[in-house]
């Protein structure tokens, strides 16, 4: 298997929340490097849980999970945290930002936890410059924006700051968990396009989760969770 060609490879995975029935049972699921994939499914079918498993925050009861070249089941929880810090950028549905950090500090947050992403930059200044570049490309180019407290930002602006944070230091995998559901239609399409462009530009794999079928057409490939999950009566959470 060529780990550079495949970003995510899942086989025979099973997961259940404590004291609940099985939620996920995936025989095989693969995302190629550089691919932009839309994972569709209604709320409560285990999409976010699957993302937590891929991100190494949760551990499956069974199965194998290969992410960015590492077999997660072979890693300690600390190593999984490091893998996530080094290789994965994550965007949530909302409340993405740490409230007590400025816009710039939020964008640079992953560099605090990942020497690998930090070391992509020769100097600390170029880290700031890249953060500015990303924000600028995402349409956040107001000069005073960098030092603004994040609570002054609109939801749409917050999501774009989150996107910049996910992409700082060029991680291989961007995971976006319904990042557009708090946005109106125009902003939604624009946000997805920006995300696509940025991911393509840095060569990152994009795993985009949504319940909104209207967005599916913008991605290389669309997968419905129900098609790959063998548990049909979900009991868990979104």
């Amino acid at each position: 298997m060529n780990s550079t060609a495949i970003t995510i490879e899942i086989s025979d995975l099973e997961y259940a929340w404590p004291n609940q029935g099985p939620l996920l049972q995936l025989k095989s699921f693969t995302v190629a490097a550089g691919e932009s994939l839309c994972l569709l499914g209604p709320s409560g079918t285990g999409k976010s849980t699957l993302l937590s498993l891929i991100a190494g925050v949760l551990e499956p009861q069974k199965g194998r999970l290969q992410v960015c070249g590492s077999a997660l089941e072979a890693l300690s929880s600390h190593q999984r945290d490091q893998l996530r810090a080094d290789h994965i950028g994550i965007i949530f549905q909302m409340f993405n930002l740490v409230p007590y950090l400025s816009v710039l500090q939020n964008v640079l947050l992953p560099c605090r936890f990942s020497p690998r992403r930090r070391n992509r930059f020769e100097r600390p200044e170029s880290m700031v410059e890249d953060a500015k570049r990303l924000l600028c490309q995402l349409g956040l180019d107001a000069p005073d924006l960098l030092s603004r407290p994040v609570r002054d930002l609109s939801v749409g602006q917050q999501q774009r700051v989150a996107a910049a944070r996910a992409m700082i230091g060029a991680p291989e995998l961007i995971i976006a968990d319904e990042p557009t559901s708090a946005l109106d239609r125009d902003n939604r399409n624009r946000f997805v396009r920006l995300l696509q462009d940025e991911a393509k530009a840095s060569g990152a794999t994009l795993l985009f989760v949504t319940h909104d079928q209207g967005l599916a057409s913008q991605f290389d490939r669309t997968v419905t969770l129900d098609d790959i999950n063998h548990i049909t009566t979900p009991t868990g959470t979104a």
Partner: protein, 423 residues
């Protein structure tokens, strides 16, 4: 890098919750202020207590309790049951093992300040602190019968200067009718501040005291007292009949116990001889019980301050779950969440305790002038030192330790929540 990074996150998080963080810090600061305040005034009291008298090996008085004699002779508190006859004083002073003996007579007052009658020996040998002698700020030691030397607080509070006439009162009442206004004294000297009861004392000569009481032999003014002129008094034998106590210095300090035993075992006109240092320690032991109680209370108040850290941290955890999962998403492990919250608690403790040290110093700056003007003493040796440092360290470490409680709760939450927090 990571550790400093977590610390800066903790600081930013506290800044963001400035209102509640300030209140918590204030609670810790006030509890530390109380603790340090009690501790410092205790130490300072102890020091000034111990510094009241030095260089005096023995104090001899009429038979009474050791602490009574000390309180009366040195602190001018209470009145003795009996006095020591002049002849007994002369016998003691003539002992070969005694280097000097200074008689003192107490009992009169001037506007609330004690009057102490003594002689030159007292000024030569009375020492306080680390062998510091009494020094004049201005003027000279009394030479005439009606001369007086006043302590620093007497002069400062009553606005007295060299040459001011003094009317002394019979007994300790400051507003009574029994004034010795027929025999005014004159201030010839003012002593430098000592931080001891000397500052609040009016010193006169032994002869002066006797002269003042001519016509008062029964305890009140005789109807013929006014007929005795000052010139007549000067011609009298003004040697007092008795003294309140005798301060004694020995030729050889190693004979102190023998000398005391010899004095205490005298059958004829028995006396009490005490070693001031020893009796001070005994006296302090009495005060010590109360002092330990105060320390105990202030330690409890520190515990209350610590609890306020715990309360504010635990109550913020629920609203911070989202923040924790964002941190987890960017690569923070449970270890980092733990460290973040523990360092927030530690910072609250550190800032609170440091503020407490500052508050204490400000409080001392405010209180000292008041103390000087009321009791003639100030809290000495209260500059920030080892005690303050150890208090700050202990409070910070304690805050770090209790920080593990909220930190553990948050860590467990964040592991359970994963990235999919239920809002």
């Amino acid at each position: 890098m990571m550790e400093t990074s977590i610390l800066s996150l903790a600081a930013a998080s506290l800044r963001n919750r400035l209102g509640s963080a300030t209140l918590t810090i204030l609670a810790v600061a006030l509890s530390v202020t109380l603790f340090l305040g009690v501790e410092k005034s205790r130490t300072a009291m102890r020091t000034s207590f111990d510094n009241t008298i030095s260089g005096t090996e023995l104090i001899v008085g009429a038979p009474t309790g050791a602490t009574n004699l000390l309180l009366h002779a040195v602190f001018h508190i209470g009145t003795p049951q009996a006095e020591l006859s002049w002849s007994r004083y002369q016998e003691i002073a003539a002992r070969p093992d005694i280097a000097w003996a200074a008689p003192v007579i107490l009992g009169d007052s001037h506007r609330g300040f004690d009057v102490l009658a003594t002689n030159q020996t007292y000024f030569d040998h009375y020492k306080f602190g680390r062998d510091r002698s009494l020094e004049l700020a201005s003027g000279e030691i009394m030479t005439d019968i009606f001369d007086a030397v006043v302590g620093a607080s007497v002069a400062a509070e009553l606005g007295y200067d060299i040459g001011t006439p003094l009317i002394l009162s019979h007994g300790i009442e400051s507003t009574g009718h029994a004034h010795h206004d027929d025999r005014p004294f004159r201030i010839v000297g003012i002593l430098k501040p000592t931080g001891t009861p000397v500052d609040r004392t009016v010193h006169i000569g032994l002869e002066g005291l006797t002269a003042m009481h001519v016509g008062w032999e029964t305890g009140s003014r005789h109807h013929l007292a006014d007929s005795i002129t000052t010139e007549m008094i000067r011609s009298f034998d003004l040697t007092p009949d008795s003294v309140s106590a005798v301060f004694i210095g020995l030729k050889d300090k190693t004979t102190i116990l023998q000398t005391r035993r010899a004095l205490n075992s005298q059958r004829e006109e028995p006396v009490t001889a005490i070693i001031p240092g020893q009796t001070l320690t005994q006296l302090w032991r009495l005060v010590g019980t109360f002092e330990r109680l105060l320390i105990g209370v202030s330690i409890f108040v520190i515990a209350v301050g610590m609890t306020s850290i715990l309360t504010s941290m635990l109550s913020s955890l629920n609203e911070r779950r989202r923040e924790m999962s964002v941190l987890r998403a960017v690569g923070a492990g449970p270890r980092h969440i733990l460290m973040l919250l523990v360092s927030e608690c530690g910072l609250l403790g550190l800032i609170g305790a440091s503020a407490g040290v500052c508050f204490t110093q400000i409080l001392i700056l405010v209180i000292n002038p008041v103390l000087v003007s009321t009791v003639g003493m100030e809290l000495a040796g209260t500059a920030p030192g080892l005690t303050d440092f150890l208090t700050v360290v202990s409070v910070s470490v304690l805050a770090l330790i209790i920080g593990f409680w909220p930190a553990w709760t948050a860590t467990r939450n964040s592991i359970g929540d994963g990235l999919a927090i239920k809002l």
